[in-house]
Each structure stands twice: as structure tokens, then as C-alpha cells.
Symmetry: C2
Subunit: 233 residues, 2 copies
DNA sequence: TCTTGCATAATTGTATACATTTAATGCAAT
DNA sequence: ATTGCATTAAATGTATACAATTATGCAAGA
């Protein structure tokens, strides 16, 4: 009888056809199956997944939302090209927003979230000692998502997740040196301890610098160029 | 023979059916024709515009991109609700990003863009003297778009335009006091002069404070609440 | 050899039909 | 009057057919 609905709840949408198609294409882009500027043809993808063009079209239009796909009218959908300038800009933006996120997290984090963060840091240090690069990358992603969740702002969280997935294609490669991973762990621990101690200014500064360091490391190692060349085969 | 295409060019898409539907619904939301949480039914909109459901569906999915519409699987598309928390968060985010934008604009603005900005400031002061509120609002929008364009970053520009349209529904109301408009003009002039003088730090600080002032003014006047009540009729 | 033009094929854009899911309705039982 | 359930209606999800647009191939001519 009542028209109530919780508009704030998260909708997974993983079980509709469009949802499945969406996640499939998304993963394929993030994992590097598709090259930059590669055309994503509706018929081919539909045939591959055993669905018609309709859900594929809609999935592509939703992927444009995340910036992973660009749609040109009457031409088609293309994997977004990663310009070096864009990467630089995104890291600059993230440096500010992750800082803000850490500040708000300091003020609003719950006991459970803090515990999850602590567990993440410990686990990451464990795997760093063993040289488990795969787990490290996953834990790094997880750390940031915990942080996003803890800031208590749907707007900011959504924004940061978008950027995060946008650069994940690159980050997968850049994090894969044991030196940077170890340094990154230390920075995560510092951020976590600042949040736990309630030092908002410090947490903000540390999270911001964490981004800048990640970017500088990437540039220093020129891994982005290697990735780009790798994609052009 | 060549598969060349400038992926950086802007696509207007105003001449396809989906494009027309998109802009129609978007304007209706921004102008307050639809209430918050109002359901946007595909058939009704299609009938109103004389098109089938398909372009309407795709337009709605693109509007989700701008955050103006929320789609719930198997339920429908709804006008996004503006939570007070969201407004607060967006202004906090914009305070940082407009600052960054002003900083980059200081370093990269062209002579033409600077001239456009100067003209805008002069015009705004003229209309403020005459009490032309309608033109003031338009010029305010224009000032920020010039600034976004001048920062030389497609990523940042796109981001700021998104937020800008998201809060435009509210801003239309909040700017409509002559006191705030006059103060806003002064702030615009100060930002413009800092950019012209090449003072990046100052420009960043001023642009950031400009946002904080706009938000505080809004809260002070409780115009947001008035707007909300207005929408519930 | 290079360009131009046209015919053809391939692809996206839109409309429509059908399937599935959700909401609304009505009515009987309590 | 209210609850519960079955039925009906209505809306979205998906598939498919057709229209419009764009890409491709090839032949004719400079």
C-alpha cells in the first residue's frame, strides 16, 4: 500500500542480463583484453554472451558512465584511450579527494571499519614479506575501498570508486614492484594510525601524499609507457 | 582507408532522437518540472515526445551518468533526490576542485579565455547595478564554465560540469538575492585578477573560498529548505 | 598510380512484439 | 474493518525487425 522505497540502498544489478554484460565487458577492459580505442561491436559481444543487442547497448551506455567506454553517435562504442595527461590529472584530483576522504573518515569511521582497515594493513605486511604480489594488489584495492566506505559520503565514495577503476588498468602494472608495495604499505599504516588517533589534518595530508607518491613512482618507472606499448601489440 | 578519428572532440549528439529526449528530460529536471523521486515512465515520456521506448530508455541511462536520475532494476527511473548531506558534500568537493581548476587556469589560460572572463565580470557588475537577476544567474554559470574550460584538463572540466549541473537546481534559487550576487561578483573579480596576475596559490585559495561562501550563504538563508518545500506541492 | 563515384555490406538507431517482474485490484475468510 | 491470496493490470527487460547511417570494395577515369 505504501510507496516507500529506500533510495539510498545500493543496487547490485548483477543478475539481470544487462548487469552481467556490463560486468563482463568491464572486466575485459580492466584486465586489458581490449586495446585502447578498440571498437566494441554490439553484435559480436551479444553473440559471445548469447544475448541480443539491446542489453549490450545499454551496458555500453552505462560503461560510458564509468569513463571506460566512449560512444560516438552512429559510429559505435570504443574503449577509452588513456592519455598521459588524463592520468596526471586524475592523480592530482585523487590527491585532493583521497585527502578529504581520509579527513572525513577520521571523523566518522566505525569500529568495524577501523578493524577491517587494521586487518588489511597486517595482511598486506604479511604478504609483502612473502612476496605475494597478486594478493598485495588486491589488498591495496581493498584498503582504498574501506577508506571510501568509511568517509560516510555516498557522493565522495562514488567519485573515488570511479577514478579508482579508471586507473586500475594502469595501477595493476605500477604496483607490481616489491619496493613500491612495501612503501605503499607503510603509507597505508600511517594513514590508518592517523585515523585511529583522530588526527584529521594528518590523515588528510598523508592520504594526499600517498597519491602523489603513487603517481611519482609510476612516472619514475615509466611503467605507464610499457603498459601502453604492451597494449599496442 | 585510414581509421583515424579524433577521440578528443566533443560530441554534441543533439540531433539523434536519444539526444533530443536526453536534453528534454534533463531540462525538465533542472527546471523543476519533475519532483524529487518522481518516477519517469518510459511509455509516458515516449508518448509525449512522439518516440518509442528505446531512445527514452537510453536517454534515462545516460541521465544516470549525470546523477540526475536513478535507475532501480525492474522498478523504473526516478529523479534523484537531493539530500542535504549530498549538497554539503558536493560543495566541499567542489571547493577543492574549483581551487585546483583555478590553479591550473592560472598556468594555462589563453588570452581569449582571459578576455572572455574579464567581459563576464564587467557584464555581471553592470547587471548587478540594474538588478537584473536573470542575467546574473546566467553570467554566474558562464563564469564557472569559462574557468573550467581554461584549466586545460578535460577530466577536471568534465567533473566540475557534472557537479555544476547537479546543484544547478538549487543554485538557481540560492543566488537570487542581490546581496549574495554582489558579493559573488566581487569574488569572481578577485579570482579573475589573481589568474591574470599569475598568482596560482591565491587563485586557488580564492576559488575554494568562493565555493565555501556560496554554500554558507545557502545554508544561512535556508533557501534549500524553501526549495524543498516548494517541490513538495 | 591515384582519385572519384557508386554499389554493397556492415553497423548503429529506432520501433515493436513478447517475456518477465512488479504493482494494483478484488474478493473471500476471519 | 482487515488480512491474505489469487487475479489482473502495468511497467520494465529482452529479442527481433526494419530504417538510417557509415564503412568497404571496386571499377572507371584522370
Amino acid at each position: 500500500m505504501n510507496g516507500e522505497y529506500d533510495f539510498n540502498r545500493e543496487v547490485s544489478d548483477k543478475y539481470s542480463l544487462r548487469g552481467r554484460v556490463f560486468h563482463k565487458i568491464r572486466n575485459d577492459i580492466l584486465n586489458g583484453r581490449y586495446k585502447e580505442h578498440e571498437e566494441l561491436k554490439e553484435i559480436r559481444i551479444g553473440k559471445e554472451l548469447g544475448v541480443s543487442r539491446t542489453p549490450v547497448r545499454e551496458a555500453l551506455r552505462q560503461l560510458e558512465l564509468e569513463g571506460l567506454v566512449q560512444i560516438i553517435p552512429n559510429r559505435g562504442a570504443f574503449v577509452t584511450g588513456i592519455q598521459e595527461n588524463d592520468v596526471r590529472d586524475i592523480y592530482a584530483i585523487r590527491a585532493l579527494l583521497e585527502g578529504l576522504c581520509a579527513r572525513w573518515a577520521t571523523e566518522r569511521i566505525t569500529a568495524e571499519q577501523l578493524e577491517a582497515m587494521e586487518e588489511n594493513v597486517y595482511l598486506a605486511e604479511f604478504h609483502a614479506g612473502k612476496g605475494h604480489m597478486e594478493q598485495m594488489a588486491e589488498l591495496d584495492n581493498q584498503f582504498h575501498h574501506i577508506l571510501y566506505d568509511a568517509c560516510g559520503s555516498k557522493m565522495l565514495e562514488h567519485q573515488l570508486i570511479d577514478y579508482h577503476s579508471y586507473v586500475m588498468r594502469i595501477r595493476r602494472k605500477t604496483l607490481s614492484t616489491i619496493e613500491r608495495s612495501t612503501a605503499s604499505n607503510k603509507e597505508h599504516r600511517a594513514i590508518m594510525e592517523a585515523i585511529r588517533a583522530g588526527k584529521a589534518d594528518l590523515a588528510e595530508r598523508l592520504a594526499s601524499e600517498h597519491m602523489k607518491n603513487a603517481y611519482e613512482n609510476m612516472v619514475k618507472n615509466r611503467l605507464y609507457d610499457i603498459y601502453k606499448k604492451d597494449m599496442e601489440d
